[in-house]
């Protein structure tokens, strides 16, 4: 057994538990802040101070394993501004970034946001965003699960996760329809009914099996 400070109180828990397991093990009925339990969804963000350490760390409650003397709280939600828009109404959302997120340009690269549990270099992509290297941002935020920890550290109250999402979407929308998909959609519109395929609903079970196995 080890002693930790959990949600502001000293408590003894078995070794080897994650923060969430420690909460459950000690009878805390936590639901808000629990999601995939696989480190993928970003619902269970925590802030913790390790024994003897000075600097607070951040992570996911389903992945951080508690240790003797750790002081930990769940931080499942942090308010951050998200712009309101309907992308269908926007000709080129990339050009509208400054209007949607003007606070982005107040970012002075202090790097306080570099605490991403997915190890995304947040300050790096914010710099790219300011410099209009939008495609780079879109690529860098693919692992972002919008947990919002980065926003909780920003002294300028910028929400990097939402800026990233806006750019990820905008860049994807600017790309032309992929040629292979375009061709498939055209084919399907022209030959709406493959004669054999159209008969699927009325085939006997044996006919259906033969039909399908014909593609092997």
């Amino acid at each position: 057994m080890i002693t930790i400070e959990l949600e502001g109180r000293k408590i003894r828990v078995p070794e080897g538990l994650t923060v969430i397991e420690a909460l459950w093990d000690t009878g805390h009925d936590v639901k808000r802040g629990i999601g995939c339990l696989s480190g993928l969804c970003g619902a269970c963000t925590v802030a913790y101070l390790e024994a003897g350490a000075q600097r607070v760390k951040f992570g996911l409650g389903c992945q951080v394993v508690v240790a003797e003397g750790m002081n930990v709280i769940m931080l499942p939600y942090f308010p951050s501004r998200i712009a309101r828009y309907d992308m269908a109404d926007m000709a080129n959302p990339l050009q509208e970034l400054p209007g949607q997120y003007p606070e982005l340009y107040a970012c002075d690269d202090c790097k306080a946001c570099n605490i991403c549990p997915e190890w995304i270099h947040v300050a790096g992509f914010m710099k790219n965003a300011k410099e209009a290297a939008y495609a780079t941002v879109a690529e860098k935020v693919k692992d972002c699960h919008l947990c919002g920890l980065c926003a909780s550290r920003c002294p300028k109250s910028i929400a990097p996760q939402y800026v990233g999402l806006y750019l990820q979407r905008s860049c994807a929308r600017q790309q032309p329809l992929p040629p292979n998909l375009r061709k498939r959609l055209e084919e399907m519109a022209t030959f709406a009914d493959d004669a054999d395929f159209a008969r699927v609903p009325v085939m006997s079970d044996d006919e259906l099996k033969d039909f399908c196995r014909g593609f092997l």
Binding site: L17, G35, L146, Q168, R169, R173, N180, L185, P201, F215
Partner: protein, 531 residues
């Protein structure tokens, strides 16, 4: 980091790598597959099932876990519920994963007002956990017909051909829709959608976004959902019962506000049930890859309302669930890894199954190894086999794992396991509910005005779901259900009643059944077992 006791085993995996490359186990013949499945696949373990005694599927074989919920009174005191609706809407969507969000968007696009209620936070679902990708026949050498054939064969011809046909025909259009909303599927150098092969497929058909496919789709759809004032959200509000009209049609639901610990009632012209699967019921004690909320609520709610089910005795056990470290038990290692040619290795350093067999066959083979003494035991007594990831760096290029599977790489670096140098210990994990509520091509169940989409719905995947078809199915049938539900705007929902529950209870009484259960379960009971 691996514990000391596993080190000799790790060394054996390294030592046998070269010789294993030379001997690929032959694919099994149909007859051999059947024998293997019958002996080792959890779906064939008769003691884990019983025949249901009540309801529309009376006499059908279902898991004990489902039967225990369906053959019981709900612990909720229905007599104390006030059925006066607090909210009235056109379409009530239950569930905030890919199917629910898609249904809400399409219902709204047809002019309906929508309330989307979900148990956890919007987006907390198995959708975001879909790593490997989504099937859609877009490659030149592929076609929807081929997609149909592969899906029917994978499901052992138990899938409903009308539903499968609808799914494969909608697939290219769904991809076009997702691209338009702003989903960034991976492309090749020509700007074509990149497509990959997977086990049991006759053409490359898997579209992906790195190894975070579902997450990146869900992020975009959640963002899209905010555009309209006609869509309202109720997070942390699971449904605990559906309501029906005097004629038995569905017309709303009783929700439970978790934060304020009170029930409230929503009246709607149509309901879309999209609350996902049941991995957290932990069938037969299996670990699961599913999220915290996947407790099979749709089955309980719809069944009491009179809906017919399909295939409730068929589940997918994904062959490669993590067995070490302890706190990651059940977490998935994507099938894309296996498709590339990793070896599954037993405690004797041997391969024991052709790794490209379908999920059910590979899972059964791993269970066979573990039950016949060829498994590797962890310090806490769990048993698994090795998945030799480092071999991919030799077969392809150094750095492949980090480049193609960044999420997986990071996940294990956090626990100081470097997958470019170390294998992972794996065992089948409860992954997907193959069956569910029976639906037609519009997504409607046998209960009028009750639509079902996503993993909660049944009949599409037969007895084994192919990789990438779940992610497709949720958008195809989410869309169809949303559109059809919006078509009921002119319909008068009538008075809200729980007559169906009263009827169900009187049948329980006549069967002398008196057990009480938390049904729907809503949240799993967690017993943290550690040594």
């Amino acid at each position: 980091m691996y514990s000391e006791s596993l080190v000799p085993q790790l060394e054996l995996v390294n030592a046998t790598r070269e010789q294993r490359k030379a001997v690929t186990p032959a694919p099994l013949a149909d007859r051999e597959k059947t024998v293997l499945l019958k002996k080792y696949h959890p779906d064939y373990k008769d003691s884990a099932f019983r025949d249901l005694r009540i309801g529309a599927n009376k006499g059908d074989r279902v898991t004990h876990e489902f039967a225990d919920l369906l053959e019981s009174f709900s612990s909720l005191d229905h007599a104390r519920l006030d059925l006066e609706p607090e909210v009235t809407t056109d379409v009530l969507v239950l569930g905030g994963g890919g199917a629910g969000v898609t249904a809400a968007l399409f219902a709204e696009s047809r002019g309906a007002r929508v309330l989307l209620a979900t148990k956890l936070r919007l987006g907390n679902s198995n959708t975001i956990m879909a790593l490997g990708g989504m099937q859609a026949a877009v490659a030149a050498q592929d076609s929807p017909v081929r997609h149909f054939a592969d899906t029917m064969i994978a499901g052992g011809f138990a899938g409903d051909r009308r539903l499968v046909k609808a799914m494969v025909e909608d697939a290219p259009g769904i991809v076009a829709w997702l691209l338009k909303v702003g989903v960034n599927f991976d492309r090749d150098e020509n700007g074509d959608l990149a497509t990959r092969m997977a086990a049991g497929m006759t053409a490359p058909r898997i579209l992906s976004i790195g190894d975070h496919t579902g997450l990146n789709i869900m992020k975009v759809l959640k963002d899209e959902l905010r555009k309209s004032d006609r869509i309202e959200l109720a997070e942390f509000s699971p449904a605990v019962e559906l309501t029906t009209s005097e004629t038995g049609a569905c017309n709303g639901a009783v929700l439970y506000d978790l934060g304020r610990r009170r029930h409230f009632v929503v009246k709607a012209r149509a309901v879309v049930l999209a609350t996902g699967g049941a991995g957290r019921l932990h069938n037969q004690g299996f670990p699961t890859s599913n999220n915290f909320g996947a407790t099979g609520d749709a089955i309980v709610l719809a069944y009491r309302a009179g809906a017919r089910m399909e295939g409730l005795d068929s589940f997918q056990y994904h062959p490669t669930g993590v067995m070490f470290p302890e706190h990651m038990v059940g977490v998935l290692v994507t099938e894309a890894i296996r498709s590339l040619g990793t070896h599954l290795v037993n405690a004797r350093g041997e391969r024991f199954v052709n790794e490209l067999e379908t999920r059910d066959v590979v899972a059964a083979a791993i269970i066979r190894e573990c039950e016949t003494g060829n498994g590797v035991r962890t310090p806490s007594g769990k048993v698994g086999v090795w998945l030799d990831l480092p071999i991919l760096e030799e077969l392809f290029e150094k750095g492949l794992l980090r480049k193609r599977f960044p999420a997986l790489f990071k996940k294990f670096m956090r626990v100081r396991i470097d997958i470019t140098r170390r294998p992972l210990l794996v065992y089948p994990t409860l992954h997907y509910q193959n069956g569910g509520v029976f639906i037609d091509e519009t997504g409607e169940s046998t209960v009028n005005n009750l639509f079902v989409a996503g993993e909660a719905a049944g009949g599409i995947h037969g007895r084994n779901r192919a990789m990438g078809n779940a992610l497709l199915d949720i958008f195809v049938f989410g869309r169809r259900a949303g559109i059809a539900a919006a078509g009921r705007v002119g319909h008068e929902p009538g008075r809200l009643t729980l007559n169906h529950v009263a009827n169900y209870y009187s049948r329980l009484k006549s069967l002398r059944i008196s057990s009480v259960a938390n049904s729907p379960t809503l949240f799993p009971e967690f017993i943290v077992d550690k040594i």
